[in-house]
């Protein structure tokens, strides 16, 4: 692979990493977001436009003139995402981008990623250890020691509790609860992912029970 091939890949695939501190280059937020498009040789006027749009998208517009060290972890990570968005890649890879954030920061970043995918159609590849995050994907691939061991929709993948456990991964708590109840003989789905889904399934069998009485 030549340097030019590599450059072409980088132009089309953006990466957001784990530590927000080690991704920001410039001393001012908007300068940092402009870094990518500047490298691509985008004309100044368009860079301005892209920077404003990207900061607007991650809801960091009012921090445009701040310096990165004045921001929280989640805010920094959102600036990093804006920096990638301004490059307009086709695919964005998030490499454990929420691992170093507190719950609030994680929620902020996750909702940003979700809108990016659902509203703007950018392909998102999210590498994560949090199963609650994996549930929100369209397709889940489980990789263990470099080998693909599971591949499918979240519902298909999280049914395979045994395989996941062997790979050292957890299953969402709702799924686990319903599976254990199902093992006891209750008529419950083995692939409920969200608490809402779980509650619905439980409510359903409870009402069925009432009817049989």
């Amino acid at each position: 692979m030549t340097d030019d091939d590599l450059f072409e890949i980088r132009r089309r695939v953006g990466m957001v990493f784990q530590n927000p501190d080690n991704q920001l280059v410039a001393t001012i937020v908007e300068e940092d977001v402009a870094f990518g498009p500047e490298n691509l040789g985008v004309p100044p006027k368009e860079i301005r436009q892209r920077v404003d749009d990207a900061l607007d998208f991650v809801k960091m517009k009012k921090f445009a003139r701040h310096s990165p060290h004045q921001l929280s972890g989640g805010q920094k990570q959102r600036v990093a995402i804006a920096g990638i968005l301004a490059c307009k890649p086709e695919i964005i890879v998030f490499d454990e981008s929420t691992a170093m954030l507190d719950p609030l920061g994680r929620a902020e970043v996750m909702s940003t990623i979700e809108t990016l995918n659902k509203k703007y159609g950018t392909t998102v590849v999210l590498i994560t250890h949090y199963m609650e995050e994996a549930c929100r994907a369209g397709r889940v691939v489980v990789i263990d020691s470099g080998k693909k061991i599971l591949d499918g929709t979240p519902k298909e993948v999280f049914e395979q509790t045994q395989i996941l456990r062997e790979a050292g991964l957890d299953v969402p708590q709702t799924t686990l609860l319903l599976q254990e109840l199902a093992d006891l003989g209750y008529n419950l789905p083995r692939n409920a992912l969200t608490p809402e889904e779980g509650a619905e399934a439980l409510a359903k069998i409870l009402s069925e029970k009432d009817e049989t009485k």
């Binding site: 991704q23 001393t27 500047e38």
Partner: protein
């Protein structure tokens, strides 16, 4: 505690000097320094003082902060003044005591030397460090030196290094603070003991700091490459510096200042020394 360190000496403000194009400021600053060294007669020195005071007024900086700028060079000022007073010979003897003879010429050149140094320090502070943000300064240096690229001097890379250094100073300060606290929690003592002991106590702080800086540098390099960074060639900039009327006005005034100094030297050659 380390968080309180302020970066650089930039004082944000709204004066004309703050708004001036940083490239022009560097040029004006150099011209001003040349002007200082051209001063040769008593009248020229008085003119120089007047111009410096005028600059101070334009900058709208509090006099206290401006005078603070002289603090680091006070020792040098006193030293050069003493040397001039004691060793400079002349014709008009003021008084003589034991082996010390002081001449009027010596005193005069000491005073001129002091005016020169003070004007130099205050001038550069007002024009550059106090009124220009470090980023603007780095940017201006890059743009001013960019013609040197013809000689294969990596101007952009140097500017990039400066920007990254500025970006990471607060991060590293924060990290130092964290490591120091971690070591304190393990019973390390930074504030008592002899100087050698205290220096020794810093070793367990510096080692992890170095290691983590290298890791940071590595990660940053990867992140920069992922954002298509390939050095200075083919790069555009979001902010374009454009010269405004005030920039030309100040350039003209600076030229006027140098011409004025030369004329005063020529027509009012009142020399003491």
């Amino acid at each position: 505690m380390l968080k309180d360190i302020t970066l650089g000496q930039f004082f944000p403000g709204n004066s004309v000097l703050h708004k001036l194009d940083p490239r022009i400021k560097i040029i004006i600053c150099i011209a001003y320094i040349v002007g200082i060294f051209l001063c040769d007669s008593l009248a020229a020195y008085i003119f120089l003082i007047a111009v410096t005071v005028l600059l101070m007024m334009i900058s709208q900086l509090p006099i206290k902060t401006v005078l603070k700028g002289i603090q680091p060079v006070v020792v040098i000022i006193i030293f050069t003044a003493l040397l001039n007073v004691l060793w400079r010979g002349g014709e008009t003897e003021l008084f003589s005591f034991w082996i010390i003879t002081i001449y009027l010429e010596g005193v005069a050149s000491a005073i001129f030397m002091m005016i020169r140094i003070i004007a130099l320090v205050i001038g550069t502070c007002i024009i550059l460090t106090y009124t220009t943000s470090p980023i603007a300064l780095t940017d201006a240096i890059e743009r001013l030196l960019s013609p040197l690229r013809i000689f294969k001097i990596p101007v952009h890379e140097f500017a990039m290094m400066m920007t990254i250094a500025l970006r990471f100073i607060p991060t590293l300060i924060e990290e130092t603070d964290k490591i120091m606290n971690a070591q304190k929690a393990r019973g390390s003592d930074f504030s008592t003991g002899s100087l050698a002991e205290r220096a020794k106590a810093l070793v367990p702080v510096l080692v992890p700091l170095f290691i983590s800086s290298f890791r940071r540098a590595d990660e940053l390099a990867v992140a920069m490459e992922c954002r298509c960074y390939r050095g200075g060639s083919g790069r555009t900039r979001m902010t374009q510096l454009r010269l405004a009327k005030r920039d030309f006005l100040f350039m003209f005034l600076t030229a006027l200042f140098i011409v004025a100094v030369l004329l005063i030297n020529q027509y009012f050659p009142i020399y003491i020394a």
